[in-house]
């Protein structure tokens, strides 16, 4: 049975530095849906994603995940959440493989040989044991994006996942999105590019810049 309304945003308000970013914003996301958040710079896309991920608190309103408020039991929500922000959480001093392994252990996933294979699948052959800081911006992002293949989270929250990726990378990523949606997951992402693949369950949310 499918759980409907995986994620529910209930009249969320956020003000930053005396400026109201959005007021009484409500929407919901079902399993199998992908939502693209659009809007000009400074409209509050990142702030919204950070509120939904539970890093920031909304001024008003609540976020519900599978019918439960996320602030009530954050660790349970976190087990179902995959967040990749502007800052990807990849350490420049460690190698790509070490980074992936560390992430897996911290998130309670099993570490196996699959991580190594995935790095080569994402075009990082021969770069697995090089410190990440020596890689290019796009390659560094791929190191973070490997997580998309290695987690069992239901909800993905991705802030500008396509930044610095080449066309092939973007395509690979969207194929993975489709797989995740087919397995009953949900995706929330911001991007300035349009998605090239056609998703039937695509919703868009436009945030306006408010004064």
């Amino acid at each position: 049975m499918r759980i409907t309304n995986l994620l529910e945003i209930k009249s969320v308000t956020c003000t930053k530095q005396e400026r109201c970013l959005f007021e009484s914003l409500s929407f919901s996301l079902e399993a199998g849906q992908i939502m693209q958040i659009e809007g000009p710079n400074g409209a509050g896309k990142t702030s919204l994603l950070r509120i939904i991920s539970g890093f920031a608190r909304p001024d008003e309103g609540e976020i519900h995940f599978s019918g439960q408020s996320i602030s009530d039991n954050y660790d349970e929500f976190a087990a179902q959440l995959l967040f990749i922000g502007h800052k990807t959480g990849v350490n420049g001093q460690l190698t790509a493989y070490e980074n992936v392994c560390h992430w897996l252990r911290v998130h309670g996933c099993h570490v196996d040989k699959r991580a190594y294979d995935l790095l080569s699948l994402l075009g990082l052959v021969g770069l697995e044991d090089v410190p990440v800081r020596t890689l290019s911006a796009g390659q560094q992002r791929r190191v973070a994006l490997v997580r998309l293949w290695l987690n069992n989270a239901k909800l993905w929250i991705l802030d500008e996942p396509f930044t610095a990726l080449d066309k092939k990378g973007v395509k690979q990523l969207q194929t993975r999105f489709a797989e995740h949606l087919a397995q009953g997951g949900a995706i929330l992402l911001t991007t300035h590019q349009d998605l090239t693949t056609h998703f039937t369950a695509l919703k868009t949310l436009v945030l306006e810049y408010q004064f």
């Binding site: 003000t15 930053k16 530095q17 005396e18 109201c20 608190r57 001024d59």
Partner: protein, 246 residues
């Protein structure tokens, strides 16, 4: 009690509560301050050992008591703010901190001015003065942490956490300083033996304590009102209030 208290989590109600409470505190402050100072300075008898210099006690002791009292009420507000996530409690923490810091500063200055004729030095590493000095550092820490943040919402919560950490440490610091003091100086002359105090001196002292408490109350309320206005400035009720010229 919870049902009665809960409406005050709303900013507008809290603001009104401040307004209703303020006159009482103001009257207590003005009356007690005038009576206490005149009585303390002119009518209380001179101490047979310390002569007239002991009159400093009428402001030193109240400010010292209130500096601790303000810190504990700040910490209580901080706990409420963190546990129940009530924004007004956070604002109260920020409102009390400068008042408490001022009380601590008064206690330090008067302590030094009293120490000079009594011990012959402006500053003596006496246990009580040292604790007061550390308390001042704790207050300044909370204040500078609050002002270092650009986002005032995070600033408030950070200040609350620091206040709670401080209040857990305060008894340990106090105890360790007392202990350090006895270790290094032997039993020093205690400035004032409160048990032996005569009622002709006790009454003005109590009145002064009430005056200082009232003052802390009044200024905290004024500052709390400011903080509430500051954070609710875009709300219609603030606009209506300011429009009425209040």
């Amino acid at each position: 009690m919870w049902k009665w208290l809960h409406p005050y989590a709303k900013a507008e109600r809290a603001y009104q509560l401040c307004n209703t409470l303020m006159p009482y505190f103001a009257v207590v402050t003005v009356v007690c301050l005038v009576v206490g100072w005149v009585w303390g300075l002119a009518y209380a008898p001179a101490d047979y050992q310390q002569k007239d210099s002991y009159r400093i006690i009428f402001i030193h002791v109240p400010s010292a008591i209130l500096s601790m009292g303000a810190y504990s009420s700040m910490a209580i507000a901080a706990v409420i703010a963190l546990v129940w996530q009530i924004r007004n409690a956070e604002l109260a923490v920020i409102a009390i901190a400068p008042v408490g810091a001022a009380m601590t500063a008064i206690a330090l200055i008067t302590g030094a001015a009293w120490g000079k004729p009594m011990w012959g030095a402006w500053w003596v590493w006496d246990a009580r003065l040292t604790s007061e000095l550390i308390l001042l550092f704790l207050y300044l820490g909370v204040l500078s942490l609050y002002h270092a943040f650009e986002d005032k919402k995070s600033a408030g919560r950070a200040a609350c956490i620091l206040a709670v950490v401080g209040v857990i440490n305060l008894p340990i610091i106090h105890f360790s300083v007392e202990w350090w003091n006895t270790l290094h100086q032997g039993a020093t002359i205690t400035k004032f033996d409160t048990s032996a105090i005569d009622s002709s001196m006790l009454w003005p002292l109590l009145i002064n304590i009430a005056a200082f408490a009232g003052f802390v109350g009044v200024v905290t309320l004024i500052r709390l009102k400011n903080e509430i206005l500051q954070c609710e400035r875009h709300r219609p009720w603030v606009r209506e209030l300011v429009g009425r010229g209040e």
